[in-house]
Amino acid sequence: MDSAALDSPEDPIEAFRTKRDQIRSEMGGSAKLAQLSELGRLNVRERFDLLLDPGSFREVGTFAHSDRVADSAATPGDGKIGGHGLIAGRPVTVVGDDFTVKRGTSSVIGSSKLKRLYEQATTAGNPYIYLGETGGARIPDTMGSDGFTRLAAFPEFGVRPRRIPLVSAILGESFGGSSFISALSDFVVQVRGSCLAVTSPRVIEIATGESITLDELGGVEVHSRHTGQIDRQAGTEAEAIEAIQTFLSFLPSSVDHRNISLDSTASDAEGEFERSTRIATAVPASRRRAYDGRQLAALILDEAVFEIRPLVGRGLITGFSRLDGHTVGVVASQPMFQAGALDVQACLKATRLIRICDTFAIPMVFIQDTPGFLVGRNVEHARLLHSAMQLHQALVSSVTPKMTVVIRKAFGLAHHVMNGALMGSDLLVAWPGAEIGFMDPEVGANVVHSRTLAAEPTPTRNALHSELAAAMAHSTSPYGAAGSMTIDEIIDPAETRSVLRDRISRLADRRIPPPEARPLSYWPTC
């Protein structure tokens, strides 16, 4: 560097460079940066480096600072850093809370930056990514009615129809803003050791006397296994960043872009033949024998499903994969868990996936092997009825093409809400061994023949039950449905993949309704 220029404060270009570089390198101060580093955590600029293609970050709002005169020098960026960059060559917009500036708290100017960048992302049609760990609204800035009312509650992020993918990572203690935006996001990943909540334990204790740790309140275990308010958990920040990149690799950049279609990843004829053989033998002959739905889905599709909310509603797998290179949303039964029965969380995550797929015109594949909905007081009191009918409404309102394969069991309303008969499917096929009906014959026999069974002497009661169930099971074969054209075809299990590949390749050039005519782009994210 030319030292003569540095020495000359009159040179506006050099002064600008010095100031810019200082803001970007010192951030909220070396002490704060060291503190983060000691905690084994990255600062927001290091996170951008991991997330974005090298050298692609173009910052917006470097010189922003608090509008409180007393804080202007101590608040470089005003707690939020952001700009535009590339991920795998595709344009994205990124913002993040800067922990080193007043704990990444939200004040007027920083929040304007988030909004400004969201407008630019929406205009350009590129995904918006928020790396969140805000401590909440900043005090005292927002205590009075002036500051408070100027700190808008992110109206633009809640506006429907959604036009661009919105992605959140929770990478530290998140209260207020970054938590709110995560709930408005299409995808949320949370890193182990962080906390996602509306209100911090400290405020909770002062307000109510309740004492609770960060982990108990909003740790990854709480959200990944209980609330379902995150889509994935990550062990490290790097893993969280990778999850974002993977998620975005499945999604178009905006509602105005077509679905992502890679070159077909289908293997050669020999590989496809081997695959079809494995699909045909993946499902055990005994209807009581479970199998791993993830493995079956990975055989039928090009690759393993990138799961959304894998640890709740575990009787159902929801996520993204590819079929003949095209991104597809996947809803597949998981007989290993709850025999593949649907519960409240299964309905919620399926609804979420349908919403994303309809908004971004991504076709869907449903794979059915479900005994129905979970029954009992617990699920009924946890709003099973409303969750199921929410899924119902999302399904029948969506216009993206949806294909279904009935593998084995397909009982009750669970069959319908998993894109079953007369629910608007683009293709509905069944394996020859499929059982389709109102309820599992083993249960049905008990209900219909309860008096006969009760009158039967104990030694022969089981045999009679099996006989009655078998008689009912006969009528659940798919030929009844195929005979009345309520399913399109009965297929050889070995041709499952080729039937779906053929259909999706025909759909690739279909006429796609304009974004406004995709009803679920108006659907709430939560």
Binding site: S286, R288, A290, Y291, R314, M336, F337, A339, P371
Partner: protein, 76 residues
């Protein structure tokens, strides 16, 4: 034990049938035991080839998610 893999339960269930014993040689994907939950038999498969070093459960025992079921020595 130099190189072993613990096979854990993915869900709460009852142990139904054990298909191997200590010393059994298993290939990847072999069924080690069957769990029972919601009237379904759930096969637990060997994640990799090896020799069964330890069977930690007995039939009818109930297990929780994360419990170790079988330990396989994969050092060979």
């Amino acid at each position: 034990m130099s190189n072993s893999v613990s096979v854990t339960a993915e869900m709460s269930a009852a142990v139904w049938k054990i298909e191997i014993a200590v010393g059994s040689i298993v290939a990847e994907g072999d069924v080690l035991l069957l769990l029972e939950s919601m009237k379904m038999e759930i096969p637990v498969e060997a994640p990799s080839a090896g020799v069964v070093a330890k069977v930690c459960v007995t039939p009818e025992q109930s297990v929780q998610e994360g419990d170790v079921l079988v330990v396989i020595d994969v050092s060979a």
